[in-house]
Symmetry: C2
């Protein structure tokens, strides 16, 4: 009995200590959480939304378990020009595998890749890209695929910036991810790119664990090989997480409608639109790349990351449009 | 400058306070985390595994981000006799929808359901069950489906225990879920049942949020209806998360191989086998239902939750077999 009472007392005392400790800590942490953002309407809108949904006394309060934020990857978190990084990976992979495939010298779209004939490759369209993906992304275990991607990311350099692709992430967006998480949000990637490609670097680069990456995927087969349970990646699409696929993927993998969504192209339109049409406070943001000098300037006519309808409809839908030239103080993290 | 130094000092001081507060708190929390488990080999094996992987000084330490534990649902977390709860839901749903479907009176397997002819229903096999699922689980939005399931779970009673299905969860397993989470594990459900069916109650009943439920699913379509972005559940299977599907589903949705897996039937064999064959410390557990008095006793000949090969191979694979009659002090939570 004495023990129990003592226990209760100590627990209350300890709880009080923790609460006051955290309060003191918070008071000293009043620094700008988004230092790479200029003080403009985009930054103000972000901060005002976060303050609103975390204010327990306010009418727009959202409990932490419902603070779901989804981020597109290509062009929203990292560079997608002059082509999607995963496509650059596939092209390099075709070249690396070519010695084992002498037939590729005369077979499209492989021939075009090996000859660096981007025009013919582009003409091969989605069917051509799908063939490249199947030839380079299937036929191994997920762990083997991870290793191949990891080795490539460690060496490959972006043609213009001469830096590793995982260094060409947007510093302001990294800050935004941390800011949201610090405010009780769970941050997800919802990418048209491959789930297992993005999972390779999402944790170290974005602080997003594998289970919080939703992407496109190919089918996988379970098989016992020489007595060992094994998963094998098959050359067959399972799910395409782009356009209409994004809300479907979010529903399937996350099971909750986000209250905030971040994208940069028409491929994110449906995710933003579905998110926005939910009840309660909502926040949609589109990164509009306007800075040809520090990064790239592109929208309506771009092959990768085409932004057209989402740009037109943003004002009516209430989506914040980031003007990277004016809203971002810096673009990439400093070189080490 | 003075401000910064003061800040650093206060932060260090506060950090020290928190650390000591937590230590005192932990010292007073040394109570049995698994009170519904008898002190037998199963309980000892669980505790010893958890202590091993959380011991920072030990050779078997596993960092929290890799402490992934997956749980089957039917028969592992809640009752699956005399039939899977989701099948009971589908049968009730057929009866509720029958007035809108006069043709069902003469059409199998609906006729069998309406006449309570379980023999004919059983004879309709997987194809029959699939037809029932499509007729009762599709054609509405995910939110509408959630509402239907929720209304049913609030009213339906188990035929033998006369309690709501969500009350017929295994108290020892609830304690196990909490114990693992208190030790830094992330707990997932990996069920042959429907993802959106289980998500309906996983958070309030098991403390498992929607995104940590992996299950079977039907296809979903995105469509703009009257200007409103809408998801519609389609009468077509998307993914079957059973047997070989469980490791595939874990890889697809979680993206990491678990270090602990919990099941009760041959439908969990591949999940357990794949989990076990990973490197480092591993923990597999099978709930063997041996208590006809307090719950049910079944294994090799059961229609639901058949346990045969997994029971035979458990010793060789190192899986702990729980004998519910001897290992569990209580089965269900007390009635309110």
């Amino acid at each position: 009995m004495i023990h129990t009472r003592l226990g209760t007392f100590v627990r209350s005392f300890v709880a009080a200590l923790i609460v006051s400790a955290l309060a003191v800590s918070a008071a000293f942490a009043q620094t700008d959480p988004l230092p790479s953002w200029n003080d403009g309407p985009a930054k103000q809108a972000i901060v005002s939304f976060v303050e609103k949904v975390t204010d327990k006394e306010g009418k727009d309060y959202v409990p932490p378990e419902d603070r779901i934020a989804t981020f597109d990857n290509d062009g929203t978190l990292w560079v997608e020009q002059p082509m999607y990084t995963q496509l650059a990976f596939a092209l390099d992979r075709v070249k690396a595998l070519a010695p084992e495939h002498p037939e590729w010298k005369d077979k499209q779209p492989f021939k075009a890749v090996l000859e660096g004939d981007m025009k013919t490759l582009a003409a091969s369209g989605e069917k051509g890209v799908a063939e490249l993906v199947m030839a380079t992304h299937a036929g191994m275990t997920p762990a083997e695929f991870q290793q191949i991607v990891s080795d490539w990311l460690a060496k490959a350099k972006h043609p213009r910036f001469k830096r590793r692709y995982t260094d060409l992430v947007y510093e302001p967006m990294l800050e935004l991810l941390s800011y949201l998480r610090d405010n009780g949000f769970t941050t997800y990637i919802v990418s048209g790119g491959g789930t297992e490609f993005v999972r390779n670097f999402s944790e170290p680069v974005y602080g997003i664990p594998p289970a919080q990456v939703v992407g496109s995927s190919i089918k996988t087969k379970y098989e016992v090989v020489d007595g060992k349970p094994t998963l094998i990646r098959l050359p067959e699409m399972h799910f395409i997480d782009d356009k209409e696929g994004k809300p479907v993927g979010i529903n399937e993998y996350i099971g909750q409608r986000p209250i905030a969504a971040f994208g940069n192209s028409d491929g994110d339109y449906q995710m933003l639109d579905w998110m926005t049409s939910g009840e309660g406070p909502r926040f949609g943001l589109i990164v509009h790349h306007t800075d040809a000098e520090r990064e790239y300037a592109y929208d309506r006519d771009s092959t990768f990351g085409r932004l057209d309808k989402a740009l037109d409809d943003a004002p009516e839908k209430g989506w914040v449009v980031v003007d990277t030239k004016n809203d971002w103080k810096t673009v990439f993290p400093p070189e080490e």
